[in-house]
Point group: C2
Chain length 330, copies 2
């Protein structure tokens, strides 16, 4: 099949660029030094490619991602780097036989882990992003609570999400030190082998963590492209021009096919004016006609992938494979 | 089932509020005066409720919506208010026996309609929003072209999308006149019975159109709530508090469960700080604990619904029905 036969809007990944990104990351952070975060692609076929590059341990953000990875036979060592309160659903996951490690940051989430039959946890530590994670000074006592309740505490995690997206590398380097020093202080109180942290924007400057939870490096987006990382844009949304007016054109890729939380998408050589539910209005850099294809590059890859049912993997115009985005939903 | 047994994040609709909204609209625009736009809810079960309120004709934005409405037996009079170029897929739709009317705004989209075996079209006219639609002065000649090629031209459509969301009603009233006068001028050149236009924000001030394409009135969102319309918020995303820190809390409803193109969602009585992929961080108005439920109200309903597989229809805490969001995708 050729890509111009695919119904648009369609999520497309250039196989060679994806492979180059996976290769670069595997060289920088081989094997267990990387715990790829599947929330960035929500696709077990892509996770299988990451495994082929030597990464056997994965990070998930949702129960659905955990369950899907187990179904796909990728459950060797799964970290749910998020708090959950559904003990019943955890129980089914644990009984599947996968290795399940759960982030906990409170007595309530420790109680859920126990009730769900989870055996292993990490203490989730707030390293500066106001989101989940306990205060670093409480990590030790939470670990004690977890151990008293029979849980194995594998270590700590602390996501520096307030740093990973900063465009200025020097600023990232300056800010990551206090964040990771707080995490290591917590780790000294907690014990265990794991210090799990990091993302695509800090993969090469986070020398404190034992493993990095990067995900976006595989496909990339325009926000991460501004950081000067050695990963290239592998993904776009293929769209069809459906209307041409003097001064602008419209393609069939809108808000429902793209995440807008990081702003408008990009069409190379053209100026994007705005997106509506099913349309992108843009000033084309060169004349276009109805039926032409355009590549719309999202500003934020993770939620854009979650808008689609499948990924078309291409080599130029040839569709090599179609991968289900099988980790969507919750 | 009770709503607190449903996995979060979950899309929830209060049945009584939905019914009140449908009743108000059916009183204001009975029968064929409204052509409900299904893009706002992407749910044939909800469309069936609109039909029960007397609206038999529907508006769609995508081929998948058209196909799904036909499958659900709601194909009495479907307008695809959008340009498409896939003649093969149109052909299958036409052969289903549904009444299919297609918007066209160029010789190329007229050619697609002909190639797909479509029998009826409307001329899509630009009334001020730089998106699809021909210049009003070209509408007559496009209608001539369409008729020469054997198509029945049912009239015109022209969506005043630059006006429907303006919070100031006086401004909406001021701006709609020139937009609709342009559409009527085009209609004079085109002929036919239909003048299709409008949305929830102009449903009661657009006295020019023969039918109004409103959709958001059924479920509403915080953007439309600012317009002082007689429709109430029927929808929210039910979320669970998963982490509590001094000064803020986190619930499990993020960017992938909400559309962010109109900005942050609202949690009544609390201040929303920001959303991440799977989290909303907020300052609670009163103390919350892990496991509590919160209602997250989206700023923009249409793309939020498209993030979910199903809608839980509730009466208070009781889940009455579960409706598939069966018109997603393309």
């Amino acid at each position: 099949m050729k890509i111009d036969q695919v119904t648009t809007p369609a999520l497309v990944v250039e196989a060679a660029v994806l492979e180059a990104n996976l290769t670069s990351m595997a060289a920088a952070l081989p094997g267990p030094r990387l715990r790829p975060h599947v929330k960035a692609h929500k696709c077990t076929s892509l996770a299988a490619r990451q495994k082929a590059h030597g990464h056997h341990n994965f990070t998930c953000a949702t129960m659905a991602e955990m369950e899907g990875m187990v179904r796909a036979g990728l459950g060797e060592d799964l970290l749910l780097a998020n708090e959950v309160v559904d003990a019943q659903r955890l129980g089914a996951l644990v009984r599947s036989g996968a290795r399940v490690t759960l982030a906990v940051d409170s007595p309530a989430t420790i109680a859920t882990a126990v009730a769900g039959g989870v055996e292993e946890v990490v203490i989730d530590v707030n390293v500066g992003l106001p989101r989940c994670g306990c205060d670093p000074t409480s990590a030790g006592s939470l670990a004690d609570t977890a151990r008293r309740r029979g849980l194995e505490v594998r270590g700590v995690m602390g996501y520096e999400g307030h740093i990973v997206g900063l465009p200025d590398r020097a600023k990232r380097i300056e800010m990551i030190r206090p964040a990771m020093e707080a995490l290591l202080a917590a780790h000294a109180d907690v014990g265990g082998d794991l210090v799990s942290a990091g993302g695509t924007g800090t993969y090469d400057i986070n020398g404190w963590a034992t493993e990095i939870q990067a995900g976006s490096y595989a496909l990339m987006d325009t926000a991460y492209a501004e950081l000067g990382l050695p990963f290239q844009q592998a993904l776009w949304v293929e769209a069809t021009v459906i209307s041409v007016s003097p001064g602008w054109a419209v393609a069939d890729c809108g808000l429902k096919a793209l995440s807008m939380d990081h702003g408008n998408p990009t069409i190379e050589g053209s100026e994007v004016w705005f997106c509506s539910d099913e349309h992108v209005t843009f000033a084309p850099g060169q004349p276009v006609k109805v039926g032409d294809r355009v590549r719309v590059i999202p500003a934020h890859v993770d939620p854009t992938v979650a808008c689609h049912e499948k990924i078309f993997v291409v080599d130029g115009d040839d569709v090599l494979e179609t991968w289900p985005v099988d980790l969507r939903g919750w």
